[in-house]
C-alpha cells in the first residue's frame, strides 16, 4: 500500500510534459556522392498547397541547388516539372530555402539537383502529402468581407432603383415618380398598353405642358400618341425654348432616321 501511495505521489509530482505527435514534417539526411544535405520539408496543411524546403549542406561545397516535386511512381514520375532554384541564406552560404507546390494527396518525392565543386548529383526525399486541417475564417477577414458584401447588396439595390426611375428618361428630365404614379392610376389602360416607365415619363412631360399652357381638359380624352403630337405642335409656339419640350415628348428608341439596319 505504501508503494502504491509513493507511486501516486511521484506521478502527481511530475510536471506537465510536451511531446511532438503526428508531425507531418520530414527531416532527413541525404548523402549524394561527396555532398551531405540535412533536409527539412514542411508539407502544407491544405492540399493543393505549398511545401517549404530547407537544406543545410555539408561535405563538398555546393554552388547551386534546385528542387522539384514529382510523384514517386507512375507516368508522372517520368516528367518532372521545371525545377526551382533554392536561395542561399545571406548569413550562411550553406543554408538554402525554397518551396515546392504539392498539387495532390499521396506519396511524392522532392528531388534535388545538386551542383558543386564535386560535380552534379541527384537525390530525393519521400514526402507524404495529406490535408490535415481546414482553416477557419479570421474575424477581421470575415468582418471585411461582410462589409464589402453588404455594400455590394445595398449599392446594387440603388443601381436597380436608378435603372427604373431615371435611366430611361430623356437627359435633363427630372423624375417625379409620385405624380407619375398618381397619373398612371387614372390612366390604367394607357399604362397597360405602354408599360409603366414610358407612361410615367410621358406624364411628367404632360403635366409640365399643362402648367405652361393652362389647358388640360382635353388631354384625358385623347389617345396617348395623338395627345403627344398635339402637345408638340401647340407648345412649340408658346414657350421660351420651343425645341426642348418636343425633345422630351419624342418617343425614345423607336425610330432612327440615320441608318436603316
Amino acid at each position: 500500500m505504501k508503494r502504491l501511495w509513493l507511486l501516486l505521489t511521484l506521478l502527481l509530482g511530475v510536471p506537465a510534459a510536451h511531446a511532438h505527435l503526428g508531425s507531418k514534417d520530414v527531416f532527413q539526411t541525404i548523402h549524394a556522392g561527396p555532398y551531405t544535405l540535412y533536409v527539412t520539408v514542411r508539407p502544407p496543411n491544405v492540399i493543393p498547397g505549398v511545401a517549404t524546403v530547407e537544406v543545410r549542406s555539408s561535405g563538398a561545397s555546393v554552388t547551386a541547388l534546385s528542387v522539384t516535386p514529382l510523384p514517386v511512381t507512375g507516368e508522372a514520375s517520368k516528367h518532372p516539372p521545371a525545377a526551382d532554384i533554392m536561395q542561399p541564406s545571406s548569413a550562411d552560404a550553406a543554408f538554402y530555402t525554397g518551396a515546392v507546390w504539392i498539387m495532390g494527396s499521396g506519396t511524392w518525392q522532392v528531388r534535388f539537383d545538386i551542383n558543386g565543386a564535386a560535380g552534379h548529383q541527384v537525390a530525393s526525399v519521400p514526402v507524404v502529402a495529406v490535408p490535415v486541417s481546414t482553416l477557419k475564417m479570421q474575424k477581421g477577414m470575415g468582418a471585411i468581407l461582410a462589409v464589402l458584401g453588404l455594400f455590394l447588396i445595398v449599392s446594387m439595390a440603388g443601381i436597380v432603383a436608378a435603372s427604373f426611375s431615371e435611366s430611361r428618361l430623356r437627359p435633363g428630365v427630372a423624375p417625379n415618380r409620385l405624380a407619375a404614379a398618381q397619373r398612371c392610376r387614372r390612366h390604367g389602360d394607357q399604362r397597360r398598353r405602354h408599360g409603366r416607365s414610358r407612361c410615367a415619363r410621358r406624364l411628367v412631360v404632360e403635366r409640365r405642358s399643362r402648367q405652361l399652357r393652362g389647358e388640360h381638359h382635353e388631354l384625358c380624352a385623347r389617345s396617348h400618341h395623338r395627345h403627344a403630337l398635339l402637345a408638340m405642335s401647340s407648345i412649340s409656339t408658346s414657350i421660351e425654348s420651343p425645341e426642348t419640350i418636343p425633345a422630351a415628348l419624342a418617343p425614345t428608341a423607336t425610330t432612327f432616321p440615320i441608318t436603316a439596319t
Binding site: 516539372p81 498539387m103 430611361r168 437627359p171 435633363g172
Partner: protein, 402 residues
C-alpha cells in the same frame, strides 16, 4: 427638387449633340478587351505552366480592366457629382447620393466586386488549397465583377447611342452624328461579342468537346446563350447582331488556337502526365454561329409577334439547330482528322492523364435514347425562358438614355 419646382431650362434642356465617341467609352472598351484576353490567357497559363503569382502577364491584363474601369468610373462620378457640367448632370442617374450615367455605377459595382474577391480568394487558397477549378466561389465573384464592368461599359455606350439614335424633334442629323452613331453601334456589337465569349468562358467546363454528347451541354448553352443573343439583338437594333457576336466569339477562339501554341511554356507544377512545351489553347469553338444566324433570320421575320411567342419559338429553334450541327461536329473532333493545328485537338493540359477521356478522345458519359430527347426538350424550355428574359431586357435597354 421636384420637376414642378425646377425652372424649365433645368428640367428640359436642349438635348446635347454628339461630338464623337467620348474617351471614357474607348477606355472602357479597352478595359473590357483586356479582361477578355487576360482571362483566356490565364486559363492557358494554368493548363500549361500551372503555377502562377500575383503579377503574371495574364493577371496584369485582368487587373488592367479594373484599373482602367476605376479611372473611368472615378472620373465620371466625381465630374458629374461635383462638377459644373450641366450636360453630364442631365445624362446621369443618382445612386447613393452620387450622380453618373447608369453604366458607370454598374462598372463601379463590378470593380468593387473584383476587389472583394481578392481577399476572399486568398483566404480560400489558405483554407482549401490552390486553384484546381475555374468556378470556385471567389472566382465566381471575380468573374461576376468582370462581367459587371463589361455590362456597365455596354450600358454607357448604349445610352450614348440611344441619345443620338432618338434625336430631339427640331434637331437635324449631321454627318458627324451619323458617323458617331455607327461607331457606337459597332462598339455595342463588339461588346456583344465579348459578352458571348464571356458566357462561353463561364460554361467552359460543361461544353468541353468530350462533353458535347451529353444533354447537359445543350441545357447549359440554352440557358446562357439565347438571353445574351436577344439582349444584343434588341439593344443594338442591328439585324445581324447575333451573327456578328457569334462570329467574334468564333474568330477569337480560333485565333487563340492558332496563336497560343507559338508561345513557349513548360510546367512548373507536378504531376506532369503530358509534356507541354508551349501555351495550351482552348478547345475549338462550339458552332453557335449557325444557330445565331438562324436567330437573326427568325427574329427579323417575327417582329410583330409578342415576346413570349417569339421566345417559345426561339428556344426550340436554337436547341434544334445547335444540336443538329454540334452533335456530328463533336464526333469529328474525336476523330483523327481533327488532330491538327487548326482544330487543336492535339493540345492537352500538362496534368492530363493518359487514361482520361480527353487524351483517349472519347466522349464523357454520352447521353442517348429517351434521356437525350427529354434532355433536349428541357433544353428547349430553358432556351425559351432565357430568350424571353433577353427579349424583354433588350427592349428595355433600347430605351436607356443615361
Amino acid at each position: 427638387m421636384s420637376a414642378s419646382a425646377m425652372p424649365l431650362s433645368h428640367v428640359l434642356p436642349r438635348a446635347p449633340r454628339a461630338a464623337g465617341v467620348p474617351w471614357t467609352i474607348w477606355a472602357g472598351v479597352v478595359a473590357v478587351t483586356s479582361s477578355m484576353i487576360g482571362g483566356t490567357w490565364d486559363v492557358a497559363w494554368h493548363r500549361s505552366i500551372g503555377r502562377d503569382s500575383f503579377l503574371t502577364p495574364a493577371h496584369i491584363a485582368i487587373y488592367a480592366c479594373g484599373v482602367i474601369a476605376a479611372v473611368v468610373c472615378g472620373y465620371l462620378i466625381l465630374a458629374t457629382t461635383f462638377g459644373k457640367s450641366q450636360q453630364l448632370k442631365a445624362e446621369s442617374v443618382q445612386v447613393l447620393g452620387f450622380r453618373a450615367p447608369l453604366g458607370v455605377f454598374i462598372s463601379a459595382w463590378g470593380g468593387i466586386a473584383m476587389l472583394t474577391s481578392a481577399p476572399f480568394d486568398n483566404w480560400w487558397h489558405n483554407a482549401y488549397g490552390l486553384d484546381v477549378k475555374v468556378i470556385s466561389p471567389p472566382h465566381t465573384i471575380l468573374i461576376l465583377g468582370v462581367r459587371a464592368v463589361s455590362v456597365g461599359i455596354l450600358f454607357l455606350t448604349l445610352a450614348a447611342m440611344n441619345r443620338i439614335g432618338a434625336p430631339a424633334a427640331g434637331q437635324t442629323q449631321t454627318s458627324e452624328d451619323a458617323r458617331t452613331y455607327r461607331t457606337l453601334k459597332a462598339l455595342v456589337l463588339y461588346m456583344g461579342g465579348i459578352m458571348i465569349v464571356g458566357q462561353m468562358f463561364f460554361i467552359m467546363e460543361n461544353t468541353w468537346d468530350v462533353a458535347l454528347h451529353q444533354a447537359l451541354a445543350y441545357k447549359v448553352m440554352a440557358i446562357a446563350l439565347p438571353v445574351a443573343f436577344a439582349v444584343i439583338s434588341r439593344a443594338s437594333g442591328y439585324r445581324w447582331a447575333c451573327t456578328t457576336a457569334a462570329a467574334i466569339y468564333t474568330v477569337y477562339t480560333i485565333a487563340e488556337i492558332l496563336i497560343f501554341p507559338l508561345v513557349p511554356a513548360s510546367p512548373k507544377l507536378g504531376p506532369v502526365f503530358f509534356p507541354v512545351t508551349h501555351l495550351v489553347p482552348g478547345k475549338f469553338p462550339v458552332l453557335i454561329l449557325i444557330p445565331a444566324i438562324a436567330l437573326d433570320l427568325l427574329w427579323n421575320r417575327l417582329r410583330t409577334w409578342k415576346p413570349w411567342q417569339i421566345a417559345a419559338v426561339t428556344g426550340v429553334v436554337f436547341v434544334a439547330i445547335l444540336f443538329a450541327v454540334e452533335w456530328p461536329f463533336a464526333s469529328f473532333l474525336m476523330s483523327k482528322a481533327s488532330q491538327n493545328r487548326f482544330f487543336g485537338t492535339i493540345y492537352f493540359d500538362y496534368n492530363s492523364r493518359p487514361d482520361r477521356v480527353d487524351r483517349m478522345r472519347v466522349f464523357l458519359d454520352p447521353t442517348s435514347g429517351p434521356r437525350l430527347y427529354l434532355g433536349l426538350l428541357i433544353a428547349s424550355i430553358y432556351g425559351s425562358i432565357s430568350a424571353w428574359f433577353g427579349l424583354r431586357f433588350g427592349d428595355w435597354m433600347r430605351g436607356v438614355q443615361r
